[in-house]
Symmetry: C2
Subunit: 368 residues, 2 copies
């Protein structure tokens, strides 16, 4: 199916990212009618920030013009939020774009990238696509949590980039301030640390690291944020990365022009001001997560503690059939085989009715 | 400014694409008030397809969900339009994305890309970024038109990709059926021909090649279309490429997930049905181009014949000052130094009042 004679050598054998299945695709496949619960992509079931909605309706009037390719206003707004310079901000089409561009900008074939196993698949894919080698350190604490000591021990002068997601996807767990500080003490100044905070807004613990203090101290750290989760803007593709100016300049060099579109820029700027919506999403997520966990606690499954808007459910045996059966009942979850967790599914918080429906169907399936 | 120790080797010395300047940027720089005419990026001054506007207002309601990463409905709609299979269609974030991905998917360092000089800058940039060598054949007919015979003569077994824009940007000229047929007769079956029709909807001549017949005959040709020009959707980033299934599969392999956003997909699908808007844009462009050309014909400048929505004005001497002076008067055009035409500016059709204003200011400047 691929043009073998034409394809770039390092791409032979490359398997691209597999997204959560869209509602309409599942509807077609199973001939389903009625409501389908998509609990597969960690989207916000409350919808989109109302301020962002308003901004988008206004922005569509101007889409006959190209986006500002420098994203001047967007970058300035983000910069003001964190007290950094605007040239330290990269305006992104979602954080997947930044992860990919890190590979394109900074990795040569043969370079080494360091991360955890069972983490966001894009880290490994970005490395592979660039022809680099991705070293993945096994997880600890039952196999659900980053082994920061192990990652630290694996650092060497060949390590060009370390990708860290905190809280992490797909296990939902996190590493602590103490663990991160110990890691940062050992990281060579030349190594780029990519710190991905996609689920930041859902964190309830006090014991999360502060990556910003390292950025402000001049360390080579790139902090990633997305508008796809708490802000409810997955569909327009918006995110940003904040880091040293030269790292951001490197990303700017390799990106495709006009990467962040007009509607996304307007929506994300408005969303940044919508603290009320983020707070509401935080409270709702906390409450529904508690409901999900409580409703499943007597089942023979393991659910690691989470600081995100989703739970990982490890059924201790192959879970492919569960994924299929849930789909037949109009519930889309994410199978975790591709992330090294073939026994697990990942389920995000949906509207309460969807969570109730999921619990009901899942309990029946797992106890059958 | 760049992280030299970290940057991928082949990127040292790479200069990224320079976009047309946005209105607000010029306003800030010159402290301008009132209307600013942006005639720099070949956008549609009539705005956006009304059908697309309606579709976008509806689509924003669903942006809390990720886009369909397979763009199933969009690709099927395009496929039906051309009588091809949906796997032959690549759903793109503008045609610049496709050009870039051709490099990422199909070029190894040292490979050869063939194109014309003074053509769309992204062809060369995509080649350079991939570490390939870009051979640019000089233009003929005063230096404004593709030399298809020259390009044909330069083909050899090392030529991996040939990029052709027809009509071409930034000169506005075109190559004929006869010229293209003679070229296709000599192209090796293994070479990928990328045929970029960004300005298709503005063509008035009958003598344009038909790239589709080669695709249908099984040739390795990838046809690029954009929604940024006639459809008035530059701001949302939408386009597509149609080619052999394996070439499209290669693009799918290297793209960033969710490359085409929800709003863009909805807008572009609706725009495809808006023949009325395209027809209106065609008529308007034809009329205003005639006005521009007529109004400048007595001046000591060369304006090559155009099949697009813009004109190239070659002033026969360095034109950087003109670009600056026009900006001071609230008119943004595109300087052409980066395209090997330091004596020229490129000016697209604006609203009639903007065209009148441009003619007035330009005449005064050139005759001063």
């Amino acid at each position: 199916m691929l043009p073998k004679d034409l394809l770039r050598e390092q791409l032979c054998g490359f398997k691209p990212y597999v997204a959560g299945r869209p509602i309409e695709e599942v509807r077609r496949e199973y001939g389903l009618e009625g409501r389908i619960a998509k609990l597969a992509s960690n989207e916000n079931p409350l919808g989109t920030s109302p301020k962002a909605m308003e901004a988008m309706c206004e922005a569509v009037k101007g889409v006959y013009l190209y986006p500002d390719d420098n994203a001047y206003y967007f970058r300035n707004k983000v910069a003001a939020r964190y007290g950094v310079e605007w040239e330290q901000v990269y305006a992104a089409a979602g954080s997947v774009e930044v992860i990919e561009l890190c590979g394109q900008a900074f990795l040569n074939p043969g370079d080494v990238v360091l991360t955890s196993e069972r983490t966001f698949a894009m880290y490994q894919l970005a490395a592979m696509k660039a022809g680099a080698r991705c070293v993945q350190i096994p997880m600890i604490d039952g196999g659900y949590r980053y082994d920061m000591a192990g990652i630290t021990a694996a650092l060497n002068e060949k390590t060009k980039i370390v990708f860290l997601a905190n809280p992490t996807n797909p296990t939902g767990t996190w590493f602590t301030s103490e663990e991160f500080d110990a890691f940062m003490e050992k990281v060579p100044e030349s190594t780029l640390v990519v710190y991905d905070c996609a689920y930041d807004e859902f964190v309830t613990t006090d014991d999360m690291p502060d990556p910003w203090k390292y950025l402000k101290a001049g360390r080579r750290i790139l902090i990633l944020k997305t508008f796809s989760k708490a802000y409810g803007l997955a569909g327009v593709r918006g995110g940003y990365a904040v880091g040293p100016k030269d790292i951001v300049a490197g990303l700017m060099l390799v990106r495709i022009p006009f990467n962040m579109n007009v509607v996304s820029m307007a929506a994300c700027m408005a969303a940044l001001d919508d603290e009320e919506f983020v707070q509401k999403s935080y409270e709702f997520t906390k409450q529904e997560l508690a409901f999900l966990i409580e409703s499943l606690k007597d089942l023979p499954v393991v659910i690691p503690p989470t600081q995100t808007n989703f739970i990982l459910i490890d059924t201790q045996k192959d879970s492919k059939w569960l994924f299929e059966e849930l789909q037949k009942k109009g519930i889309i979850v994410r199978p975790m085989g591709g992330n090294g967790l073939p026994n697990a599914i990942r389920v995000n918080v949906g509207l309460h009715e969807d969570n109730v429906h999921f619990v009901e169907v899942f309990r029946r399936l797992i106890l059958s």
